[in-house]
Each structure stands twice: as C-alpha cells, then as structure tokens.
Symmetry: C2
Subunit: 690 residues, 2 copies
C-alpha cells in the first residue's frame, strides 16, 4: 500500500494555509470542544456516562435509546468482545466524526490525552476492518452475508465515507497516516464493488456522503480511481429507478431500518439523474452532502455540467428554501425540504446536521469558484443555524432547530405536530448524527477563512478572506496574513499582509458581507487611505500587495441593528420582521420578556427614528450566556385577552387602533444562545405594524 | 318483545313539535339530500358506482380504498352471500347513518323509492343480526369468536349504537318499528354483556357513541335498563387504566386496527373517570359523541354532577378550543384536540364529523338547560363547519376542514404536514364516517329549531326558538308557530304564534344570537310595538302569548359585515381578522382574488368609514355557488417579491410604510361554499394593520 501521498495533487487553487486561530469567540468554542465536548462525547460513546435521550425527532424509535454502544460495537466487530450490535446501522459514524473533530482540534492545540484516545480508536477501527477493507460494524455483526444488499437503508458507504473524511483530517492534521491506510483500504473495497463494469453494483448509497469523502481522499492521495468512483457514484443515482426495490426483493430478508422504504425516491436523492435535477428535494442532510460531493467532483474533474448542477441546487436552496438562520428542512416527515418559499417556523425541522452540511457545500462552492455569497452562508451557519445545535456547556444538543418554540406545544400533551421540536437540548440521541457533526465544524472553523487561487500565469496569488475570524495565517512562500478583530461583536477588522520579496504578488480579497452591502457599505482603508469599498461582482474588495510589501488594511462593516423581512412569497413571515446585527440573527426568549412573545409587535415605521434617538439599546453583556450582545428595543405589546373573554369577537370600531397596545420593550439575544436557561418560549419572527 | 313504546316517557320538557320546513336555504339542502346525496351514497355503499377515494386523512390506509362494500358486508354476515369483509371494522355505520338521514328526510317528503331502500336495508340488517341481538358484520365475518375482545379498537358498541340512533329516527319518523325491534335486541345484547355485575365486562367502547344512542332509545322506550346502562358506560370509562391493554393481551391475536394502541388513553376518552375530566382532550369526534351522551344522561337521570361535567367540557371546547367556523380538532395526529388556544389554521384537522358532533352536543345541552349560546353553536356548525364538509353537488366530501388551504402545500410533493388537507372534496373515503354524518345533520335541521319547557305548575309552556330557520310548527294543544325569513341572507324574521284558548299560555323565547348582541342589539317588535330586545341571562328575549291569543313578532338582527378578531391567546390569529356576516364566516378563494391570498391586508382602522361610505359591497348573487352573499371590500395588497429578490432583506427605512402596498379589493364568499370551483388557495384569517 502506497503511503507516500501527493499533497494537493490537482488543486493548487485550494492550498490551505496554516492558520492559528486568534478569535476570542472561536477560541472559546474550540476550547469548549477540546475540554468538554470531545471528552463528553467519548464518555457517551464508550458508555461511561448515563444519558437521557430524547424521542427520535425523525420518528424512528425502533433502535434502542439506552446507550450509545459505538465503541462496543466496534470491539465486537473486531472480535475483542462478544455481544449484539446496538443502535442504528450507521452508529459507527458517531465515532468517525468525533475522530475528525479531534484531528482538527489537535492542529491548534497539544492534547496528549485526546491523541491517545484517537490512537486507540484508530487501532480499534483497524482491527475491526475486514481483510478486504470493508468495515461496518452493524453489517459485520448482524448480517455479514448481506453486504451492500440493501443500499437504500444500509448506510454502508455513508459509514465508511465518514471514516475516510476522518482519516483525511488525521492525515492533514497529525501527519501520521495509520488512519489513512485504513481509509484507502475502505475506498479500494468500495471501488472493487461499485462501478460501471459488469459484475459491479450499479447503484449508490441511499445516504450520499461517500462522494465527498472520495473527493477528499483523492485530494490527498492523487489516486485517480477515487475521483472516478466519486463521479460514478454521483452519476449512477436516479439512473435506475427500480434499483433499491430490486435490491430489497433480491435480499428478501427483513429491512435494516423498518419504514425507510416508504419514503419517496427524492428522499434518497434517487428520483432522477443528478444532471437533470432542478430542485433541492428530499432529506436535507442528504442534499447537503450530495451537493458538497458534487461541487468537489466538478472542481476536481473540471466537469462544467456538474458545476452548473451544483450552482442550480445552491440557488434553489439559498434563494427559496433556507430559513434566515441558515437552517434548512421545512418538515419533520423525511427530515426534508418541501417546496419553494414554504418555511413554516413552528413545525419545521432545521436539523443541525443540515446546517453543517450547508457550510460544507458553501466551502466547496467557494473552492469551485470564489464568490462572497458562499462566505455569507458559511458565516450564517457558523453564527446561527449550526451553532444553535449545541448548548453553551457543550454537553447538550438540538437535532431540530425551530424558529419559534413553545414548551406547551412540544409537551407530550401539547400539539403532536410540534412534538419533534425540543425546547431544551438533549443529552444525546438514539440517532446521534448531530453532536459530532457540530463538533467537527467548530473544530475546523479555520478552514473556512481563506481560499487561494493562483493566476493562470502564476504570478499573482489571490487570497480570498471569506470570514472575519481573527487569526494569523502562513501561506506558501512565506506570505503571512494577520487578521485582528473582536468580531462578531465588533465590526472593526484589521489585516496585516506581508509578502516576501521572493514570493508572488498577492491580490488580497476581502469579502464584504451581503448584510453590509445595503444602505451603508463597508469602509475599507489601505495603509490609512480610504479606498472604494464597493465589492466586485464576486462580492470581494480586492487590494494588491506587491512582492516585498507589507500592507495594513482596516475594514469597518455595518454592525447596525437591522430589521429584516422575508420575501413576500414566504407566507409564514408575511407582515413579520426579524432582527439581525452583523451576521447574527437575534431571538426573544421568555426568560427576558413579558407575556407570550407573540403579543409583541415591532413598529417598523418608527425604526429609523428609534435608531437615531438611541432608543435601541445594544450592548455586550459578558456575564450573560458566556458573553453575548443584547439588544433591547421599544415595541408595542398587545393586551393579553382574559380567559373569560369570548374566543372571537368583533374588532372594536374605535378608530384609535393603538388602544389595544401598550408600550413595551423587547429584549433579544443571539439565536444560537437560546434555550440555555431552561425551557421557555422563543421566537425569531415578530409581528410588525407593516 | 314489547313494541308498544311510551312516547317521551320521562321528558315532557323536550317535546318535539311537528315542524314543516319552509326555509329556502334548508329546503334546498334537504332537496339535495333527498335527490342527490342519499341516492349517491346508496350507490356507493352498494358498490354500484366507482369512486376515487382520498388517502385516509388520519393516516390509516391499512384498509382497502377501492370500494365501500357496506351492503355486501351485511349480506355476507346475513349468509346471503359468501366473501370477505372489506373496509374498516365500523363500515356498517355508513349505512346506519344513511338510514337515519333517510328517516329524517321522509318526515318532510314522500319518498317512496327511498322508503323501499330503507325497508330493504332494515330487512337485511335484521337478517344479519345474530339470534342474541349482536350485530357487527366485521366481527361476525372475520373474528366471530372475538366479540367484545378488543374494545379499544373494535367499535362494536359504536357500530350498534349507530343503528340504535337510526332506529329511533325511523320510529319517530315513519312510525313503523321494525328497525326499533332490531335496536332493542342490540341494546339487550349489550346490556347482557356490559355492566357492574360480576361476569359482565367492566369497560366500554374505545369510541363513545353508545351512550347517546342508549339515551335516545330510553327516551322512546322508557326502558330503565337502557339509561342505567348508558350511565354505567359513561362512568366506567377511565376507571380501570389497564382495561384495554389487558383485553389486548387476553385476546392475544392480531389487532383489528393496527397502530390504534399507540395513541394515549385520552384518545379513547379513557384517561380518567369522566366525572374528574377537566379538558376536552383526545379524538374530537369521540369527545363530541361522549359529551352528547353525557348531557343526555345528565338530563334524563337528573345527575347534577354529570351536568356539571358536561358544562365544563362544553366551556373548554367553546371558549378555548374551537375554530371560528365551529371546526374542532387542532391536529391530524389522533384527529385530536391539542391544548387551550392552540388553533393552527393550516395543519389543523377540523373533521366534518366533529362539527356534526358539536351540533349534537349543543342540542343536548340546550335540552339540559336552555341557553342561547347552545343555539349559537348549532347555528355556527349548520352554516359553517359542518356544512363545509359537503360540496354543492352533494357528491363530494371533506373529512378535514382547514381554515387555510394551498394546493401546493397539499400536493404529494408539497409539505407532508399538510398532506391531509384536501383542496377539493373527495368522492368518498376508506373511512367514510363524514358523508352520512353530514347528511343526517342536514336532514334533521328542523329538530334544532325549537325546545320546549313546561313550567313547574304546568300552566306556561316556554317555546325556545333557537334557530332562524323558516318553518311552520305545531306544538301540543294546537299551539302553532309560523316563522318566516330569508335567513341567513336577510336578518328580518317574522313569527306568528297562535295559542288556542284551551292551551296553556306560551312564553315565546327568541334567541338573540351572540353575533347580534354587541354594539347593535337586535330590534324586536310585538304586534307592531318595539320591545326591549336585550336578551335575558339565558340569551333569549321572552314574549308572552296568552291562551287564545295570536301574536305577531318581527325581529331584525344585526346583519352588518363584521371584522372579527380572536383572543390574543390564540397565537395563530394574532394581528389577523376574519369576516363574518350574521352567522356565516366568509373566506377568500383564489378564484375571486388576485395574487397569493396572504398578500392581502385588511385595514381595520378605516373599517368604520368604509362601512359608512358604502365601500364594502355586499350582495346576494343567485348565480354564484347555488346562491350566496358575496362581500367585496377595499384592502391593501403587498407587492409580490420577485423570485430574483433576496429571500431576506433589511426592511426599508422609508418612513412611508404604505409604499409596499397597493390598493386592492378582497372578495369573499361563505366558508361553507369554498372549493366548489376547482383547487385553489383559500383563507379565512387575513393580516390586518392592527
Ligand atoms: Zn443530525
Ligand atoms: Zn368523519
């Protein structure tokens, strides 16, 4: 087995710099991952800590919810223990994503204890792996003769793909390649089983992920078979509409996940060939992973048609199917997208994993063709949709992320259509895909900051700075970028860019966030001189830094509190406003506010005046919720009807419509920080007088 | 078997007059029932016409949806045919409710052909009945040894109870008692099997209905055992929390309705003893039937505690859990109530049967203790919630009645949380409880008009006139009431009351509808002199008519178009208004209006002025929807965002908030008449500027 890998074999444009994180916000979160999240998750996965698991939000409670059993499953598969497999067929992936997160953390920090755990886990995984490279503890323990026999629901490629991702992260992070060798053996196993050749399987996993994993493995190994296989697995989807049904019939035995075959083909991303697909339909996480693989394969193979498909699906999601917080998935049924502009706030799904997958997709699109809007979505997920999935203590998680929550509705004697919406994060889940997914995203935020691109003639290196995350970064040839800020609380960002005389000159591109483009654009100065900060068509302001020069850039983005409205095509947000400041969506919680939250109405017409007269109070409260910006604004509050009042009554003909309102205030906190003070109502969208 | 029955044995206060319907509106509907609905339903039940059935809105598609097979099931049970039972365990009840409706129709009309069908059906039913009185074609055909073995789901008492109701209707209508003899044998069979005595079953049917049926049978037979049994079956509910589970275990065999045991005990009205029950929880139709039985038994036994329970549950529903249209049931899951003030408009259930059951409950409450508010709810159901369940052609039916509908959401590729909401009435349903339920309600509207009560000393007969439904009615002792109006389109009602010299004097009580009490009360004149029309605490205006007198009363109720608002405890209606005129709730349909309906906003503040200046146009259009009042009013319409616009954007700081609105009009039709012109969006609640 060849273990000398061509680094970045095909992709000079996506060189990753070495980034040392300096952002207070993200260093705090990575510290939390290292000190709390990863140890806690390890304890859960090794069944060393008792956990109380929530009902499966997807409605699948067929698998046990008493313990995780992830490590035990692998020990059983490795022959180190005897016993039954426990949990979902893809239970192994909880550990794989944990390893990936740990690998990222070890790039920033010495963590000897963590390294020992990772080592032991990889050793165990290597032991559990079959001699031909196959590894899936569920199949090995419960159905060894049924390999690849029910791909609709087996998650085998998904499971191995997650290990491949983890192995690539280990390779890039720790430098040792024990994991990568296991991953290569897995990929080779899959490559022998799947492909266009006769005798191979002409179908793919019901849950996409392997495509993105193989593209990453190709990037570190340069092995052409892997990218060819990735492209094949993308293209084979939806080509043979009866593939899964035929497999189930041929298998004949009982399903691995009962009820999975009831979903429409769009759920499995198998309703049509991907090159013909026009809408992001079906299971949202599957869409996100599929699209990430799609964009990677398009870039790595130069397949322009696939790139167009990626852009089309991107547009469909971003322009028509995403919540303001970056959450996606409008229904619990199939954890799925629904239709354009259908974005209910209470019955929605918004799985944490789906937000993580959207960050992946955005990064892959950025690598495919740099544009600021991809950075906008990464930022949206990092500060809102994805981050909301984890509690401030790092030990509780949301699977579902609603934009409006009410403990009474979610209660067992509430409204069953909202039972999947928790109002307090759970210790763990039977299907625990989300906790380690959030961990690996936060642990790798530094990978989302910069993208590089070398000009055709090789004499200009464009460095795209997509995120305002303070850091110091070393690029090739000694090019160094130092980024300083107190973002997201403060919008003043400084950059120092040093380009050695021997290096190529640099085109330094700063993303002007979409939220800082309307009304007041950002202010950018280079070495003290203000420049035109209107972003180019790519969404970036470009600053040239000659070889041998050091340039100091200051950038001030628009951090005013903004009232946001949705397209009037979104029925559920009609007449409503949400509050944003910078990239952060704010919400109101019962803990800070009077009465049922829905009684509050924001006066849009007096907003400008309220801002001018400083009636909108915003300040950083370091003692609240680990330190958050708090917004407090005047609003109006409807009178709460008495329970003695008629349920319906004629509207008073009193022409002074204000009589039923009282002056009030609305206090808002960042959406990501909600539900850290017990159960209570929460709301993102508020009625307005518009 | 005793077939000489004591008429109205115990209830002089609920004497029913002979009522000849004259209302144009209701005569038209009864004509439709006689000419279209009943023949159509007979053709469906005898499998003489092909029907396309909708997915089961309750999600239970385990039973076939190719045909009805009701009559065939009974022929098989009777030994006249061989074959399998087809359909739900309670399939027989479709026919029973049809017979009941036919019996009512035959009170108003000579229908020889209908009478022949009813005769043949009763003959068949008598043949299918077991020698001991038991009758349930499903059990007899598929599980004859499992009688009363799984009462949670078997619906056996429910099924026989529906026949008992039909038989009472036949007895009161046609005078012949063939059906009543069958019913008595059923009741005796149930009485032998259930009761407090050792060796009898100490439990009740998972679906209440038998209680109300037995109370009705008691009223026509005077047989004490029936009312005792009804009270026992009410009181035994929820006493033994493990009753159903123990039955299932003892039965051991497979369930009759798979999945039924997953519901909480509240679904079956078995969570707690009824005397302790505080909230209307669980399956809405079960609640309605249970409460009807409860109110009847309370009245017939003088059980004051049961009467209090009935009033408590009534209040809970009417004051906290009912839609403005009278629909009840806030969720598809378990076809159930949810919690106080939880009234979502899109994902709701609002089963037609639940509205019918609320009309029953209201009538029973009226009989228990007359009050105008019971007439309010009967009227609400008759003109809105219940009536909406049937198309104008009498051959299509809604199971679910939403207050907001969108074909895109309901489509197979729409939002699964709204898939149960049809936007066009279906030919029929696998579970076809609703079509014949609507038929029996409409066929018996004349039973909802008057309630009588004799004073303690017997010298004053109070006649409560609860509904403005034109008719001529003959009461005991030759007392005659003639009621004339063009209600619900016109609010002028005239009464002529003649009391023979030999009759008791009459206290004639006219219900002043709740919708005519605020702002402008009704105007009532007696023999040309205006009297004080402020209703008494009972909601009625009382006019004395002495023995030997004839009195002419004119009454004008408030038919102005009204904007209605909900209690601010109803989150889903915050800031919204609905439009009513008289008892009728109006809605907007896509067919009459521009753009997505949600873009329309009603200006509450200018409403009084709009009314004064005649800008609200209302007129009766005899060519539209079989003749309806149409309301057209100025409103404002938001601009529909372009699909090119950002999904979210800052609210413009433009202080003129009206710039994003255009003057528009909103055209409204009665809610009951929606979805008779193809699929399209429909909305009852509109955004307002309040
Ligand atoms: Zn997840
Ligand atoms: Zn029904």
């Amino acid at each position: 087995m060849n273990t000398t890998f061509m680094k970045h074999a095909t992709t000079p444009s996506s060189h990753q710099p070495t980034v040392r994180l300096k952002s207070t916000f993200w260093k705090h979160y990575q510290e939390l991952i290292a000190q709390e999240v990863l140890p806690y998750q390890w304890a859960v996965m090794s069944d060393e800590t008792g956990v109380s698991m929530a009902d499966d939000p997807g409605g699948n409670n067929e698998f046990g919810r008493e313990k995780s059993h992830v490590l035990a499953n692998l020990r059983i598969a490795a022959g180190l223990e005897t016993g039954e497999h426990y949990g979902f067929p893809f239970q192994d992936t909880d550990l794989y994503k944990w390893i990936e997160a740990a690998a990222y953390i070890m790039r920033q920090r010495e963590e000897p204890q963590l390294r020992r755990l990772v080592d032991s886990a990889i050793d165990l995984i290597a032991k559990a792996q079959c001699s031909d490279g196959y590894l899936d503890s569920f199949i090995q323990i419960t159905a060894p003769t049924r390999r690849f026999a029910r791909l609709r629901e087996s998650h085998e490629l998904y499971t191995m793909g997650h290990f491949i991702e983890a192995a690539v992260a280990c390779h890039e992070s720790t430098g040792y390649d024990k994991a990568l060798n296991v991953a290569i053996r897995m990929a080779d196993c899959i490559d022998r089983a799947f492909g266009p050749e006769d005798g191979k399987i002409h179908g793919s996993d019901g849950h996409p992920e392997i495509e993105l994993a193989l593209s990453r493995l190709y990037e570190v190994t340069g092995e052409q078979r892997y990218i060819d296989l990735a492209r094949y697995l993308l293209d084979v989807r939806g080509q043979d509409p009866d593939f899964y049904d035929r497999q189930d019939k041929a298998d004949g035995s009982k399903p691995f996940i009962p009820g999975m075959s009831q979903f429409p083909k769009s759920y499995y991303q198998a309703a049509e060939p991907i090159r013909e697909q026009k809408h992001a339909d079906g299971h949202a996480v599957r869409v996100g992973y599929l699209c990430t693989g799609l964009a990677n394969v398009a870039r790595l193979t130069g397949d322009a048609e696939l790139a167009d498909v990626a852009r089309r699906l991107w547009d469909d999601i971003i322009r028509k199917r995403m919540y303001i917080t970056g959450n996606v998935g409008s229904t619990r049924v199939g954890e799925s997208f629904t239709y354009d502009y259908d974005l209910p706030n209470e019955t929605m799904y918004g799985e944490s994993c789906a937000s993580v997958s959207m960050a992946f997709f955005a990064r892959s699109m950025m690598n495919l063709q740099p544009a600021g809007l991809y950075g906008d979505i990464v930022e949206k997920e990092l500060f809102n949709g994805a981050l909301a999935g984890m509690s401030l203590d790092g030990k509780h998680f949301f699977y579902v992320n609603p934009l409006e929550a009410d403990p009474q509705a979610s209660a067992i004697d509430g409204n069953p259509d909202r039972h999947h919406v928790l109002c307090q994060r759970a210790d763990w889940f039977g299907c625990a895909c989300c906790p380690s997914n959030i961990a690996r995203l936060i642990a790798s935020v530094e990978d989302y900051i910069y993208t590089t691109k070398l000009s055709h003639n090789g004499d200009i290196l464009t460095i795209y700075s997509s995120q305002f995350i303070a850091n110091s970064a070393s690029f090739e040839d000694g090019i160094a970028v130092d980024q300083r800020s107190d973002f997201p609380w403060n919008g003043h960002i400084e950059y120092s860019i040093s380009v050695p005389a021997a290096a190529t000159s640099v085109d330094f591109a700063i993303r002007i966030p979409q939220w800082s483009q309307s009304e007041a654009s950002a202010v950018v100065s280079v070495d003290g001189s203000v420049i035109d900060a209107t972003p180019g068509i790519d969404g970036f302001v470009h600053v040239s830094v000659a070889s041998g020069a050091t340039v100091h850039i200051e950038c001030d983005v628009d951090m005013r509190v903004k009232l946001m409205e949705a397209s009037t095509r979104v029925r559920h947000d009609i007449g409503k406003v949400a509050v944003m400041r910078g990239p952060i969506v704010f919400c109101a919680e019962e803990a800070d506010n009077q009465g049922p939250l829905w009684l509050h109405r924001i006066s849009v017409d007096s907003w400008a005046k309220m801002l001018e007269t400083n009636k909108v109070d915003e300040h950083y409260d370091e003692d609240l919720l680990d330190g958050v910006e708090v917004i407090s604004m005047p609003d109006q509050m409807r009178t709460l009807s008495s329970t003695e009042d008629d349920l319906y009554q004629p509207v008073s003909n009193d022409t002074d419509s204000e009589t039923s309102f009282a002056d009030s205030r609305l206090t808002l906190i960042p959406y990501y920080s909600w539900a850290n003070r017990g159960r209570g109502r929460m709301q993102v969208w508020f009625d307005s007088n518009r």
